[in-house]
């Protein structure tokens, strides 16, 4: 039986300590049943490498991204400013998050409201751990030679030019990375961005996630890797719609690393 250390910022502050990084869990990371396992996987990795981190726990709150994309700038700014106040209270300097939407908003949009932090997406963070030799996922050879395809999240890729880090992480697993027809700058959206996650799609002839899943299945990969909670949901739903959930699995990068490390 192993237990993991998950300190909150409040607990650390009470002890007069401050962690190196704040792990921003995000709403999906906190509440989505499937995606919570990504949060847990990432916490396990953080524990294993002994990074000094903390979470906000109940003090965390939506970044405001979906409200902003849906047009509600008031609500976004209310959220952003109260989050910034919390960050200030704990003197936060560096934030790591697994959600590209939180990442984009914290990194690019909070500065205009006075919140300046070093914000890193977990794909980049994992790549750094691998480069530093702190994580050696290929040792266990769990995925050696397996075909994996990677789906670019729009908010990571086009929005912020993070294309390489997730791929480097997958390569470190000793997998065979196969690209979809549309990848990197040409990557096709999963269909959930811009607050689409929170409403039904407009009338059309097809669901975007099905279109994207078909492309992923065409690669013949049995694992679809993702680095975004919304993409993970959309692609998992797509795989289900195609009745392929037995053979094809959708995982987040952190889950793959945690599996490889036997965590």
């Amino acid at each position: 039986m192993s237990t993991y250390n998950i300190p909150t910022m409040a607990e650390m502050a009470a002890k007069g300590e401050s962690p190196e990084i704040l792990f921003w869990v995000g709403c999906a990371g906190s509440f989505d049943d499937r995606y919570k396992s990504v949060t847990k996987a990432f916490v396990k990795i953080l524990n294993k490498v002994g990074v000094s981190f903390a979470v906000l726990g109940q003090e965390e709150s939506c970044t405001g991204d979906p409200a902003r994309r849906a047009g509600n700038e008031f609500l976004f700014q209310m959220q952003a400013m109260s989050n910034i106040q919390v960050f200030e209270g704990y003197n936060v300097k560096k934030i790591v998050t697994a959600c590209p939407h939180c990442f984009n908003t914290l990194k690019n949009e909070y500065p205009a409201l006075g919140g300046n932090y070093e914000v890193i997406h977990h794909s980049t963070f994992l790549q750094q751990l691998i480069d530093e030799g702190k994580v050696k996922p290929a040792d266990g050879q769990a995925f050696k030679g397996q075909k994996i395809t990677y789906h670019d999240s729009c908010y990571l890729g086009r929005a912020n030019n993070v294309y390489e880090a997730p791929r480097r992480v997958l390569e470190a697993l000793d997998t065979e990375l196969v690209e979809m027809k549309r990848c990197k700058t040409n990557g096709l959206c999963c269909g959930a961005g811009g607050a689409q996650m929170f409403k039904d799609s407009e009338p059309g002839t097809k669901e975007i996630n099905v279109e994207r899943t078909e492309e992923a299945l065409e690669t013949g990969a049995k694992i679809i890797a993702s680095a975004c909670p919304f993409c993970l949901t959309m692609l998992s739903d797509g795989v289900k719609a195609k009745e392929k959930e037995e053979e094809v699995k959708v995982y987040d990068l952190a889950e793959l690393i945690a599996q490889a490390e036997d965590l």
Binding site: I6, S30, F31, K40, A67, A70, E109, T185, I208
Partner: protein, 438 residues
């Protein structure tokens, strides 16, 4: 005879310049309808963007075949226009090929090179016509490509084919005249491409040839001047607008949405936070939140609309459009330009009872957008359809509370539970429980 031609030429030149001037004023006025936005920072990055994307056609090369053909037309257009300089001097001064004696054999080389470009433009435009009308590349046949946009595109291609043909025929008849020793026709040497056409003219009388040569000369220069004016009415404006548009393009990460400072002040007041600057100063006039009409958009969005070449690369990449939704980013740009032009032309201007949102762009279209930035990435001239979509959404949400019901529910969840879903904020950290229990 000469003097009449000269006077006529000067008149034509004057009329073209006047029309062009009026149209440029019109477009300027259109762009100035937009709200202010500072895009003068970081000039070195801006020059780079312009050189790479507009001059260097960087984005075009995502798809090499059309890129190469387009490059021929583009280089041809720029370079052949150097020759127009000689045309204008000749036309005004009543001379003929004024540079020929000065440049000697270099003139022959230069003109042969121009002819090479003319032939490439001819061929490229012919292939473009085939792609559009026979192969029917899908992006050229979406619902927004109604009669005029389709005709406009074809007209331009036919126009360019005629213009380049006129150059070659003019040079050929000129060489036939030179061979016959016609007075006034300076020797140009054998021009590489048109010399093949000389046999067409060899057997004609000098007087007929002069008429023909003059006809082609006039056809070409009138064509060029007409083209210059026509372009300002057409999607072809991108040949000029691509340069300022790439210079003033967004340099921030694509994912960043511009902050609304007017909202920031109100939110600060609500939260009891200190305002920046002089708090006692009367608050700046807060216009509409978001955009309902074109004057609520920034001037850059309006410049974008005049720059759009209706190529549809954005729409071809748009996930919503690909899956049969009504949204097409190209249609967003075309609607914006149409609205600006209608506002400028209409007697009542903006107060004509219509607006961009509702009359030109529907909610269904903008609600389908995933903000994926595929359209922004795809555009060869750095147009940003997404920022227009998001500004319209802001208006709908903040001024009309007219967002889709599911979004209003999501807003409410964030307000009360601090998450877009209906979960109690006190449960936010529950995920950690099972991890501690393992």
């Amino acid at each position: 005879m000469h003097i009449i031609q000269q006077l006529l030429f000067i008149l034509v030149l004057g009329v073209a310049a006047f029309l062009l001037f009026k149209r440029i004023q019109f477009i300027k006025k259109g762009i100035k309808l937009g709200k202010p936005l500072d895009r003068t920072d970081n000039s070195s990055a801006r020059w780079r963007s312009m050189l790479l994307v507009a001059f260097g056609q960087k984005k075009m090369f995502k798809n090499p075949l059309p890129a190469l053909l387009h490059l021929f037309v583009y280089v041809g257009f720029v370079v052949i226009n150097i020759e127009v300089f000689e045309f204008i001097i000749d036309g005004v001064a009543g001379t003929h090929r004024i540079f020929a004696p000065f440049l000697g054999s270099f003139y022959t080389v230069l003109l042969s090179f121009f002819e090479f470009l003319s032939v490439s433009v001819f061929v490229a435009c012919a292939i473009f016509l085939i792609r559009r009308n026979i192969i029917r590349v899908p992006r050229f046949h979406k619902p927004e490509m109604k009669t005029w946009p389709t005709l406009d595109a074809n007209l331009i291609l036919i126009f360019e084919i005629l213009l380049t043909s006129a150059i070659l025929l003019m040079n050929a008849s000129d060489q036939a005249l030179q061979a016959k020793g016609a007075e006034h026709y300076t020797h140009t040497g054998k021009l590489f491409f048109s010399s093949f056409l000389v046999p067409l003219f060899q057997n004609s009388q000098v007087s007929t040839l002069i008429v023909l040569e003059r006809f082609f000369w006039w056809f070409h220069i009138l064509g060029i001047l007409g083209f210059a004016v026509y372009v300002t009415y057409s999607k072809h404006l991108h040949i000029f607008m691509a340069f300022p548009n790439t210079y003033f393009a967004n340099l921030n990460p694509m994912g960043e949405m511009a902050n609304m400072d007017s909202v920031t002040n109100e939110v600060k007041l609500m939260l009891g936070l200190p305002l920046e600057g002089d708090a006692s100063a009367p608050p700046a006039e807060v216009g509409r939140f978001g955009a309902k009409d074109v004057n609520d958009l920034t001037w850059k969005s309006l410049m974008d609309s005049f720059t759009c070449t209706e190529c549809g690369r954005c729409t071809a990449e748009c996930p919503a459009n690909q899956t049969g939704k009504k949204l097409s980013p190209r249609a967003i740009m075309m609607a914006t330009r149409d609205r600006v032009e209608d506002v400028l032309k209409g007697e009542k201007g903006l107060e004509d009872g219509k607006s961009l949102l509702g009359d030109y762009i529907s909610k269904e279209e903008i609600n389908a957008c995933t903000s994926c930035n595929a359209c922004v990435e795809a555009c060869p001239v750095l147009i940003d359809p997404l920022s227009i979509i998001l500004e319209l959404r802001r208006y709908i949400s903040m001024e009309e509370s007219g967002s889709p019901a599911a979004w209003n529910a999501m807003f409410q969840n964030i307000e009360t539970n601090f998450a877009p879903w209906k979960f109690a904020p006190t449960d936010r950290f529950n995920w950690a429980e099972d991890l501690k229990k393992i």
